[in-house]
Subunit: 202 residues, 2 copies
């Protein structure tokens, strides 16, 4: 669908750029642009400012690979965090999800994706060397691989485990099972099998 | 759902503002913010610039009420447009949709909404006076009411027709019928009845 409007090249360009955001197509980008223009003072001006601030301040943590306005990031520079446990995730979004769960007061490491030979993504394209360096530097007793339960995620987990084999560190992974609030009827056979195998005392 | 991340108040604020766009909730706003930060040079920087330009340049056409970077807008100032026909729409998005169809080389008038007593939107909240002024100024032979086929749209159309009753101008409305490419089985009874009533020679 065309993004064409009658409103001049500046608005066209705004719509075209908005349409590149995940979750926005050409039609919703037009709606978003109109919404921004109509709410100029309440939304467009503050959003433009927030983006300028992000352009200026946001970067990648050189230790763990997350995005933050400081380097080392808020988590890596927090002395109250347990530095002996590193939770390895594929993406910053996964780190944020685990932080919302607030289950573990640990440090993180963001791989930046998964191994995917078909897409040309090899070990050197991921932040695996940085993880090995952190483990090699000492003080780490456990690395938890919190990668997605996909083929690519599991392949990456195996590769990372191999790379950490020489070090005195425990490598663990997330438990499989029934999601909290999940209904058995809607779950796949693989999940049900894993949940049965890993059953615990009631 | 919380928009909470670990990445500092600047990124929180960017996510909160993005979540106010139509079509983006808290989760997709987080994804959009991450996407922007990861594609800083390709997307975040140009989008921030496009928004700064929009803040500076975009305004409302004082003649027809559309958004544009010039006033009068591109359409109102185009001498090749037939100024004797005014196509009245509820919203700028409708104007853009009709322009993409490119069916009529006419002028427009944007009402900015529909009459809705329950929401406290009366005639003075819409750009109806501006339309009456344009008709009163002369040179207009037809006003086409291209409002939505909703109760509010039709109420607004009746009100606008009443206001234009004293002038020598033809007031028309869009045809009802089967959408091009539409399947009869999926259409409501109202549309089918209107399509039958307005049947034409094959």
């Amino acid at each position: 669908m065309s993004t064409k409007t009658t409103a001049g090249p500046e608005i066209e360009r705004l719509i075209q750029l908005l349409a590149k955001l995940p979750g926005l197509g050409p039609r919703s980008a037009r709606r978003a642009a109109l919404h921004l223009i109509k709410k100029k003072e309440q939304l467009l001006v503050p959003l433009a400012e927030a983006m300028d601030v992000a352009v200026e301040k946001v970067g990648i943590c050189s230790t763990c690979g997350t995005v933050d306005t400081s380097d080392p990031c808020t988590i890596c520079s927090d002395p109250r965090r347990d530095a002996s446990t590193i939770l390895v995730v594929e993406d910053v979004a996964d780190l944020w999800a685990l932080e919302r769960a607030a289950a573990l007061n640990c440090r993180y490491h963001v791989l930046g994706g998964t191994l995917s030979p078909l897409d040309g993504i090899g070990p050197d394209d991921l932040n695996i060397g940085g993880l090995v360096d952190r483990v090699q530097a000492g003080g780490v007793s456990e690395v938890i691989l919190a990668v997605n339960a996909t083929v690519e995620g599991q392949t990456t987990a195996h590769f990372v485990t191999d790379r950490l084999a020489g070090f005195d560190v425990r490598v663990t992974k997330l438990a499989h099972g029934v999601p909290v609030g999940g209904e058995l009827d809607y779950l796949d056979e693989g999940t049900l099998t894993q949940a049965l195998k890993a059953r615990t005392a009631f």
